[in-house]
Symmetry: C2
Subunit: 406 residues, 2 copies
């Protein structure tokens, strides 16, 4: 059961963006929608961030190439098969998907970006994808964000989508995004696909910068299991159909727009964690008073990845020794444990490197029994900080991942 997450509501359509979904039969049961087409008006500008996994999937390679050459007119996304570890054939299949879409909607092949998510190492069923693509254009509509959010799911249990609107000049500007992912989640873009569109008018270079800023505050701060996927991608498209002036980072409106994009991405990123495989807790790990952001993240991730911390979270057990041990092994040069404090929620559990004198088990237990838990580590050696969002490690995590292919 996802933690504090329900079906998305109040999704706003984005002028100039249309979506369609179809059950192409890529997923095993054959009934679920598993192929999505998203089209953009001409003159839409597009930014992208992709996985840093050296074994990146074929569609990632193709999407990066196409994005570098053109302004995309369409995204083709399939769930149920990642087209990763598929060698030269995988690249041909990803390109072929673009050719089919280009011919169906009338654009250049490299104006289409392909995305895939699902099982690694199996070839794409191109016959099914070809049949699916033929059906998609007829179904395109502005109001299909929720359907698209559902069709890109794999082990997700809830669709992830949200919208924000803001006023720029006299125009109402909308930002709507969808995302998927619940396993293989960690920084450097996890098995996570996110597609965000806005009708704002944005300078292409600044759009890329805006997306990278938002990703660093959102998707790059989440972890479920420490595994970085081969397929991650996050796309931000700006159609310019709202009629606002061009945002390039230099005006107050740019600041407001950046803030709204951050909010959308943070909400989507947290939704991925809330729906983390087997998650029963939503956990915020905050590390402060660090020398730099890198070491703050290092400590936060060491805690967030520790199976012992995660199983204690699952058990609602205030076994703070495991948090302390994880912080201690994060590998910080010259860390003086006598300066370190650790809080569970507002409860100080460790001060001066040992159990806080005022700490009582009942206080920790009260925090750990909640669904949403914050762990705060104060290093007392600098002024930087970092926050990471994660989940616990439950029986269901093992069950889901031991049975994924069966």
């Amino acid at each position: 059961m996802p933690v504090g997450l329900s079906q998305p509501e109040n999704l706003l359509s984005v002028k100039g963006v249309q979506l369609a979904t179809v059950a192409a039969g890529i997923k095993k049961n054959g009934q679920e929608h598993d192929l999505v087409l998203i089209t953009f008006e001409p003159d839409t500008v597009c930014a992208g961030v992709f996985t840093r996994n050296a074994f990146c999937a074929a569609p990632v390679t193709v999407a990066k190439n196409h994005l570098a050459q053109t302004s995309p007119r369409a995204l083709l996304i399939n769930s149920g098969n990642a087209n990763a570890g598929t060698g030269a054939r995988g690249l041909r299949d990803a390109e072929q998907g673009c050719v089919l879409v280009a011919s169906a909607i009338g654009c250049a092949d490299d104006e289409v970006l392909p995305f895939s998510t699902g099982v690694i190492g199996e070839d794409l069923p191109m016959d099914k994808i070809e049949s699916g693509i033929k059906k998609l254009p007829a179904g395109l509509e502005e109001d299909a964000w929720a359907q698209a959010a559902t069709a890109i799911m794999t082990t997700d249990t809830v669709a992830k989508a949200c919208s924000r609107s803001l006023r720029i000049d006299n125009a109402e500007v909308t930002i709507t995004g969808i995302a998927k992912g619940s396993g293989m989640i960690r920084p450097d873009m996890a098995t996570m696909l996110a597609f965000i569109a806005t009708d704002a008018t944005v300078n292409r270079e600044w759009l890329q910068q805006c997306l990278e800023t938002a990703v660093n505050l959102s998707f790059n701060n989440i972890t479920v299991d420490g595994d970085t996927s081969t397929n991650d991608a996050c796309i931000l498209a700006a159609t310019g159909t709202s009629g606002s002036h061009m945002l390039d980072g230099s005006c107050d409106s740019s600041v407001e727009f950046q803030k709204a994009v951050n909010e959308v991405l943070i909400q989507l990123a947290q939704a991925i964690v809330r729906d983390g495989e087997g998650a029963t807790k939503f956990v915020t790990v905050h590390v402060e008073s660090a020398v730099n952001v890198a070491e703050a993240k290092q400590v936060a991730y060491t805690i967030a990845h520790s199976p012992l911390v995660k199983t204690a979270l699952y058990a609602s057990d205030p076994n703070w020794g495991r948090i302390l041990a994880a912080a201690g092994r994060a590998g910080l040069d010259g860390l003086d444990i006598n300066n370190v404090s650790i809080y569970l929620g507002d409860v100080c559990i460790v001060s001066k490197g040992g159990r806080d004198p005022a700490y009582e088990e009942a206080l920790g237990q009260a925090v750990m029994s909640q669904d949403e838990i914050s762990i705060r580590v104060v290093l007392n050696r600098g002024n930087e900080q970092a926050t990471v969002w994660t989940t616990d490690l439950s029986y269901d995590y093992v069950k889901i991942n031991a049975e994924y292919r069966s």
Copy 2:
């Protein structure tokens, strides 16, 4: 159930080393032996390797200090309580244990080294430890290695001990060791205690070097859950009672001795993995043709720590895409995936960065169905290699760690 591991047999006593155990009531059920005394003849030399966790436990601090100053005459080990995260009181308690032993057997306080393993963050029950220490000297005998191996266990399900003997000059030299640990296991010395003694005559400086060499080939190559403990310690004591000449690394006998010590430590290290919490598989991850040992270990540990790889191992699922993805995200500079091959046992599953053309699922399935599995990654970019031993991630891992304190 441990994987391919049974109760230790044929343990050899070591002349000059005596052991005693008692049920001091530190462990919750009150019946199990949980306090161990090991004494050494005068002139025994001793080497030690300790945890690198910045939050090291009180007994580790005390043992390191004492070892730096003297030649130990006794080791005091308790299970059931780690005396970690216990601040100034923890240090006083660890020192007090040494004082009590020194008075009971007649040696200096700093000739005693303390060791603790168990729950973090609770004060040692010094009254129980004091009563226990009073009973220990009367029980000392040369032939109690098996009892000691059992008394230091925490979540271990099987005692871990082994012996080797070799001939040096005309003397029969014995090496016997015991170890404990099954959770919080990874390099840099995990929640792992190991005590090894030999009756060889060894130069103290070389003994330390010999121990570090062996630890790097054994305990530093194992991982169960990636958590490094606050309490790890490995001690190698040489009594010199066998009458052999002094080993200092310069003779053939030193080479033979090093080899035997390596064998003892590797057997103990592998026993810890075989008894890993919830383990149903014993997994060897071997990475070869790396530029250096560090990057080989980096890839091996990324695979060994991946929850997705570990759950696939548990499910006996040849989901090689997860291995490939883990290798890809290990962070190697300029890794060319088109040169990488991956083997499951003798079966080539990935070649040139994609599924090997000859690979069939049935071949991978046959390997994965075994209890002992080897994963071999060939990077094809250098001449160095590394091996890591690990386990799968099962329901029982979660169960054990979610219920440890209940």
